[in-house]
């Protein structure tokens, strides 16, 4: 395989390149998910984000998600790229492309992929807010580590 279907990169992601990776003659649908950096979260303004990854394991886990999708939706093909490092508002953090003979599987598999990324892929987001910075502990944003550890003071600052 000349190009990898699962990548962690530091440069901007080219969406078109992921579409190309999953293009096949038997496909009748390609879905893409593009995850971008949001400015406002629950009234808090993000200035920029910093993503960190355990790169070799993250690539393995992306491939594992691809395998799981192969089991659940046998005729699909998946490519996932996640960007790390410094990302500004509206920058693309993740792109998932899924091709399939029919659209339903392409939609379903694509949503499955992003849900699994948020569960098992060792990537961490550090939010740089207008008034401070926080490692985000999970995607529900219910666990965070202000100042590097859980801290009741942060509740007051919300």
């Amino acid at each position: 395989m000349a190009e990898s279907l699962y990548e962690i990169v530091e440069e901007p992601i080219q969406v078109e390149s992921l579409i190309k990776k999953v293009e096949r003659r038997e496909s009748g649908a390609i879905t893409t998910f593009i995850g971008t950096v949001r400015e406002w979260t629950k009234g808090k303004r993000t200035i920029y984000l910093q993503y960190q990854a355990y790169i070799p394991m993250a690539v393995k886990m992306l491939a594992k998600i691809g395998d799981e999708i192969g089991d659940k939706w046998p005729d699909t093909m998946v490519a996932i790229t996640h960007r790390i490092g410094h990302l500004d508002i509206s920058d693309i953090a993740v792109v998932i492309a899924v091709s399939s003979p029919h659209r339903k599987a392409a939609y379903e598999a694509n949503e499955y992929a992003i849900e699994r990324i948020k569960q098992i892929v060792p990537i961490w987001k550090r939010e740089h807010w207008e008034h401070g910075e926080t490692w985000i502990g999970n995607q529900l944003e219910t666990i965070s580590y202000p100042n590097g550890k859980p801290n009741v003071e942060d509740v007051k600052n919300d």
């Binding site: 394991m57 993250a58 948020k118 892929v121 060792p122 990537i123 987001k125 995607q139 550890k149």
Partner: protein, 77 residues
């Protein structure tokens, strides 16, 4: 020797991303205990573990040459 990798807030707290632990064999739960004592890393309680890039449990045992990574709750996407 066991290589230990740290990420996110763990890495920041320790001021380094890697530790070398001089031991031939240790259970993950014991390793966590040891690091909590030695570096005041109480944050290790809510953290997953990977051995050689695969998720593992506190009951698993690592041997010299293995790489252990502590994986705080992930927030990619």
């Amino acid at each position: 020797m066991i290589k230990v990798l740290l990420f996110a807030h763990l890495q920041e707290k320790l001021g380094k991303d890697q530790l070398d632990i001089e031991t031939n064999q240790i259970k993950i739960s014991e390793l966590k205990h040891k690091l909590k004592d030695q570096y005041y890393l109480n944050e290790l309680d809510g953290v997953m573990t990977a051995i050689n890039e695969e998720y593992a449990t506190d009951e698993d045992v690592v041997k010299s040459g293995d790489t252990v990574a502590f994986i705080p709750p992930v927030s990619g996407g």
